[in-house]
Symmetry: C2
Subunit: 374 residues, 2 copies
């Protein structure tokens, strides 16, 4: 099948770019002397995991237990659920953990640590204590009084202290490589300090996990870390390109859409990819260099031959291409297929249960499943 024959909207994944992005990140980690644990939260696909996995590590990170279940069933035997677990999720976690060699999850509280320690299958769990390295989303400060308390509860339990982990997500707020590198260093220092503090108290801390795509790309040292855990680099998106995580020609995921209406009076072309097909993420709104609306429109080959065309508005199933200059109505008659590069690919990809795979062209060479939901 050709992309021109595909039903729209559809998710398109360029395998050539995916491979290149994965090779680049693996080489980056190797040059830093740290192993790579790819975070599969974006593509959620076993086919993608096979390409992304570091042969010297073997493991992955996931963002939902549904992903963990999916990857465990397909032979991945080192899975880290990189979100704070809660007591009610432990039974399902134990079921998954019982099927693979190493299953870990995050936690950042005494309450959850106690529930883990008391679980009848605590011996199956690897616990990563989440450290807040400045993102202030979740995690304990490296100097928190609770850090030692949590670690000792786990160490005294049948469970295993897998290590300490952090996510320098505040790197998304930085706008140049120097400030991202500074955040990467904050991220590294915080999680290494937490590990050293626990080791100083006589605890074994085998894993020291950090990572976001921007910090993995711009960090200057991985000293003390055992693994980096980026994810979005595999697919790439407009936001990551804009903050310098990868080039503008590295984006591997786009949404195939069809022109459904012309509104010349409004200088507007409407496509069948709206808020559900693109997501309502607006992360490019605050970027220097210009707001990219709900995505940048390129041609069916993925090339920017149409000029700067942006999806300026969305309804549930309608995307409105608007522009200051007159739109190229003649180049985009009704029925024309285009591709839309997403602002935030993790949000966009989630609407689809499969990807149409191309190798730098418009032939669909494979269809890859992806897992959704929780």
């Amino acid at each position: 099948m050709k992309l021109a024959e595909a039903a729209t909207p559809a998710l398109v994944l360029d395998r050539v770019r995916l491979r290149r992005n994965c090779e680049r990140m693996l080489a980056r980690c190797q040059s830093l002397g740290v192993r790579l644990r790819p975070h599969m939260k974006t593509l959620k696909s076993m086919d993608a995991a096979r390409i992304a996995i570091d042969p010297d590590h073997g493991g992955i990170a996931v963002s939902t237990l549904q992903e963990a279940d999916y990857f465990a069933a397909r032979g991945i035997d080192d899975i880290q659920y990189a979100v704070c677990i809660t007591p009610d999720k432990l039974d399902r976690a134990a079921e998954i953990a019982g099927r693979i060699a190493r299953f870990g999850f995050f936690l950042d509280s005494v309450e959850t640590a106690r529930a883990v320690a008391a679980h009848p299958h605590a011996d199956r769990f690897g616990v990563w204590i989440e450290i807040d390295s400045g993102d202030h989303r979740t995690g304990l400060s490296p100097d928190s009084s609770k850090l030692l308390e949590v670690a000792e509860i786990i160490a005294a339990s049948p469970g295993r202290l897998a290590g300490v982990a952090t996510h320098g997500g505040h790197s998304y707020g930085a706008r140049n490589s120097a400030s991202i590198a500074a955040i990467a260093e904050e991220e590294r220092r915080a999680v290494v300090a937490a590990a050293e503090r626990l080791r100083g108290a006589g605890l074994d801390v085998p894993g020291v996990s950090a990572g976001s795509t921007p910090t993995a790309v711009h960090s200057t040292s991985a000293e003390g870390l055992t693994e980096l855990r980026p994810g979005v680099y595999m697919a790439g998106d407009l936001f990551q390109a804009a903050i310098g995580s990868h080039g503008w020609d590295d984006m591997a995921v786009s949404v195939l859409a069809t022109v459904i209406s012309h509104k010349p009076e409004q200088n507007q072309i409407v496509i069948d990819a709206g808020g559900l097909a693109l997501s309502k993420d607006r992360s490019t709104a605050a970027l220097q260099g210009g707001d990219l609306g709900y995505g940048l429109v390129v041609d069916i080959e993925g090339k920017p031959s149409l000029g700067r065309l942006v999806v300026g508005g969305v309804h549930q199933e309608h995307g409105e291409i608007r522009g200051d200059a007159p739109l190229p109505f003649e180049r985009l008659p009704i029925g024309t297929k285009v591709r839309v590069l997403p602002n935030h690919v993790c949000m966009t990809a989630a609407a689809y249960d499969h990807s149409l795979v191309v190798d730098d062209g418009t032939d669909v060479v494979a269809t890859w499943e992806r897992v959704s939901g929780w």
Copy 2:
């Protein structure tokens, strides 16, 4: 099962409220003397359709061919795909149309009309010419020179001119009942004018379809219309409540979530419902009376006993509850379940493949499937 035992995040649907919302809209249409064609784009569920369908009409509207396929397979025999179709979608449309009594779709161009007329199964299609009544998304102006041309192409084809249809979506930009009522009147006048113009040219125009939830609620006349086609009223959401489409206690859909982390230093409570579970819709940002972030947090019973708690930030799987006043950490220990009322329920519900159904309580009385994708 009780909601307290459900895996989170999960979509909760209160059937008592759904029924009440459906009864209210049906009574509203009856009082206006017009039939109701419920738009199933939000709940996408046969169980919900059974409650919503007007016994005097029998039909529904849908926003994707996937929904059309789903509902056709479950016995609905009058389905209107309320989006402009394109030539490449006609084969699938013909397959669906071949299974039911009446299948229609929108179009607004000469190009698509010609493709429809030339299709080998054109006789299966009911064509609704879309009219732009001021929303400027898609549709022909009632006085467009193309209106007659499109209608005549269909009338001369084996296909059937089902009628003219419009969506007064610009009502979403209004903020009081008087201005919504004025838009409802614009909507009605535009689509009725289009019908009259075609009838004046000797064409049969059986259907005159209009509707959005705000205009259906606030319209003062349905003269000349044959049906109203609202959708979001079934579920309701914060945005619709804020603009007066329904009461604050009419919202039938919420997201069940679990508290996963406390960040007292940031006065922040984190739940396991983030950008994917809630959507990134920010339609309440521009509302008078206050921005509701990514959703309003209520207790597990759906009651506003927690004060004004808002999800102020989201990451993929994390929702950050923030507030100016100190948050109720003691009432919301880690593991506590809450419900989040969504800004825009059509976006939020799309992330789930089923709903947990309650009858104004916390007992899960049913699980309803829902169809996603395209």
